[in-house]
């Protein structure tokens, strides 16, 4: 009898709870009008948990809302790690917000899929932005970003001096031979777990972002960029095979871990590695730890010039928005240098415009972070702006991992090219 009562209580509790939660719905939505005539626009960002950037974005939204009465932007923050899944799920349900931020390599795919609306009337403003911060597809601009990030070899002057390794400069980066000789010296010293760390323990977009510039420095590429129809000859030509052999050798010779630790910056700061291939975001913790001893060296020139990846988070409008003019009004308002500087400053990323760079301590000409801006300006190769890029990225990651773990470079790259070419066919015409 007691069990019966318990079950009854449970059932009643469940029913009550459901009726209570029935009244509780989140505030997600796209564009709705209030009784005062103000149109409310929903806006999504990937910055949940990232206090600095979220605060900067909130400040832009707050200024926009205070600047006029026609629109009110409501910001929803999502965690970065799962943001893309949240957006694609919302797109499947036709519940995208009016304004959203997008990781630049996804813009072409999302524009092609019909998620994004082109940005109108901002050509003059965006002409002052770093090209890598303006996302275009099929001749139209779909998004712009406040900042870019770049790649660098992070190391220490004291380490390079101790092992008699030249400190490279932006005008004279390491050559392939110099770099390999440096790795050998560092390895022979026995002072490090591994001479270098390419952050091979990370997964996903990091692989094409970090390692396709190395492929491009050898002379290869992810796809033939004349028409974006095929990777034949670009990803499996002689230059690409050379890159693949070099990449495999890095693991085989023990110059890098085939799967590095979860946080390569921490391993570098703990002295486990001497050279770290990583993003400009590592500047803050490494500079804090080593002060003036830290060096952010340019990418190695493997024969076709030093290369780095480009493109970071950008802002655009969705096609689901019931009030597209409101979304465009926000995007125009938010592109002011003042906001570019504010967001870049709070995130310590490379400001998108020269005017904003002058306002951010460290990024002004000759500032301690100016080196990153120069790398971005001189060495950036954008990830291919084709709807097939997410597939290309996945294929490249798979192939590069296989090669690092001993697969035959030529056969692996040939297979990747076949797969990419098959997939690219759907975008032809």
């Amino acid at each position: 009898m007691k069990s019966l009562k318990k079950l009854g209580v449970l059932g009643l509790a469940a029913a009550l709870s459901l009726s209570v939660v029935a009244c509780s719905k989140g505030g997600g939505g796209q564009a709705t009008s209030t009784s005062t005539g103000t149109v409310e626009l929903s806006m999504w960002t990937h910055n949940a948990g990232n206090k600095e950037e979220l605060a900067a974005i909130k400040s832009v939204v707050s200024d926009f809302n205070a600047s006029q009465t026609a629109y009110k932007v409501n910001l929803q923050a999502f965690p970065q790690d799962s943001y893309n899944q949240s957006v694609t799920a919302a797109a499947a349900a036709k519940k995208l917000p009016c304004i959203l931020d997008i990781d630049q390599p996804n813009v072409a795919n999302w524009a092609w899929a019909g998620y994004l609306a082109p940005i109108e009337g901002m050509d003059e403003t965006l002409s002052k932005f770093l090209p890598s911060t303006v996302a275009k597809y099929d001749g139209k601009t779909y998004a712009y970003g406040y900042y870019d990030v770049t790649l660098a070899w992070v190391t220490r002057k004291s380490t390079l001096n101790k092992y008699d390794i030249r400190i490279p400069t932006i005008d004279q980066p390491w050559t392939a031979d110099e770099f390999m000789a440096a790795l050998k010296k560092l390895k022979d010293s026995g002072d490090f777990q591994y001479p270098a760390d390419l952050a091979t323990g990370w997964t996903g977009e990091w692989w094409p972002y970090a390692y396709s510039p190395l492929l491009q420095s050898f002379g290869g590429d992810l796809i033939n960029r004349t028409d974006y129809k095929s990777a034949q000859g670009s990803l499996n030509g002689d230059a690409a095979i050379k890159w693949a052999n070099w990449f495999a050798e890095m693991g085989k010779e023990g110059y890098i871990a085939k799967k590095s630790g979860s946080d390569p910056s921490q391993d570098f700061m703990n002295g486990k590695t001497a050279l770290l291939w990583n993003g400009s975001w590592t500047a803050v913790p490494t500079r804090k730890k080593f002060g003036d001893d830290i060096v952010f060296a340019p990418p190695v020139d493997f024969g076709n010039g030093p290369k780095v990846g480009g493109g970071s988070w950008t802002w655009g409008a969705s096609t689901n928005c019931a009030d597209p003019a409101g979304a465009q009004a926000y995007l125009k308002f938010a592109a002011a240098d003042k906001y570019v500087a504010e967001v870049a400053k709070d995130t310590n990323n490379i400001p998108a415009t020269d005017a904003a760079a002058a306002m951010v301590p460290g990024f002004e000409e000759g500032g301690e972070n100016d080196v990153f801006r120069q790398f971005a300006k001189r060495f950036t190769v954008m990830r291919p702006e084709t709807p097939g890029y997410p597939f290309i990225a996945t294929e490249f990651e798979k192939a590069a991992k296989d090669i690092l773990n001993g697969a035959d470079p030529k056969a692996t790259l040939d297979q990747a090219v076949t797969n990419i070419d098959d997939n690219q066919q759907q975008f032809a015409g």
Binding site: L7, S24, G27, G49, E52, A93, K95, Q266, W281, P285
Partner: protein
């Protein structure tokens, strides 16, 4: 009447019997068995120790201690900074309350709905009974990931209580699709089938209807099945990640597991906050751990009696 409980009694009786058998073993064999037990305890326990110990250390020390025994010891710059950082970064209380609400309601409603369904399949006789059971069981082989998108489309078409269309971004979208559960129905069905049907007949003679038999006879005898279903419903509800990620947009209704993503950042001045991840993981693991310890015996008995593994 005692038949359904007989196998549980057998299981518990088996433990001292096994110990008795072990007592006749040679000392070196006993030592080996004990060493294996300790090794197993370490394999399963050390990650938890690492998690909790690391939650008190700064990021650089967590990584510096890796590969040494210090990784499992509370040494170095021990502080509560990571815990205060968690509260600074995520609305922890909201996430926890949401997880508790979602899990408890799912379990409570699941117990009622699934036991009733199983009762009908086990005790009543109607045309197509076996086919219905077969269809329900067939759904067990379909992984949730394959149903996620169609389910998303479906819940987006359903009318809401306030008259609007679509359940997205609500509590019920995180609860209702998981109340009816084929596995729970099967467990109840299996257990109900072991309760003698003569009891129903006796009750019918005394004038009891089906609902009376369900609530006064069958359910009071099904304690182990209720415990099993409760636990096996609670764990996935508590650990749910993919579905809430897809259907929630507002921070105010997100559950604790999605909150884990708040700590992984590529950019920003701090990068990924590993110490805070450990602190957050510790805090969301503790309730489940406490629940497990409190109901350890029921948990083990129910798993043993249902033949369910991990």
């Amino acid at each position: 009447m005692s038949e359904p409980l007989a196998h549980v009694a057998d299981d518990t009786a088996a433990v001292p019997a096994a110990d008795a058998a072990h007592s006749g073993r040679k000392p070196w064999l006993k030592g080996l068995v004990m060493a294996l037990r300790i090794a197993l305890c370490l394999v399963f326990g050390l990650p938890l120790v690492f998690l909790i110990v690391s939650s008190f250390k700064p990021d650089n020390e967590i990584f510096a201690d890796l590969g040494t025994v210090n990784a499992f010891l509370p040494v170095g710059s021990i502080s509560l900074d990571n815990y205060s950082g968690v509260f600074d970064r995520v609305p922890f209380a909201t996430f926890m309350m949401n997880s508790v609400l979602i899990s408890v309601v799912t379990v409570a409603a699941g117990l009622v709905v699934n036991s009733m369904a199983a009762f009908a399949l086990s005790r009543m006789e109607f045309a197509g009974q076996k086919i219905v059971l077969g269809v329900i069981l067939a759904t067990l082989i379909v992984p949730f990931e394959t149903m996620a998108l169609p389910l998303l489309w479906w819940v987006n078409q359903l009318p809401y209580f306030d008259g609007s269309i679509g359940w997205l971004d609500s509590y019920e979208v995180q609860i209702i699709p998981f109340i009816a559960n084929a596995f729970s129905i099967y467990l109840f069905y299996q257990y109900f089938d072991s309760i003698p049907k003569e009891l129903d007949e006796a009750a019918k003679v005394d004038g009891a209807g089906w609902f009376r038999i369900y609530r006064s006879i069958v359910m009071p005898l099904s304690g182990p099945a209720v415990a099993t279903v409760a636990i096996l419903t609670f764990l996935p509800a508590w650990n749910s990640y993919l579905w809430p990620l897809m259907v929630t947009q507002s921070e105010s209704i997100r559950p604790a597991m999605v909150g884990m993503d708040y700590f992984k950042q590529m950019s920003g001045s701090s990068g990924t906050a590993w110490g805070q991840i450990m602190a957050y993981a510790s805090m969301i693991t503790v309730p489940v751990l406490v629940l497990f310890i409190a109901f350890q015996r029921a948990f083990i008995n129910s798993i043993a009696s249902s033949g369910v593994k991990g």
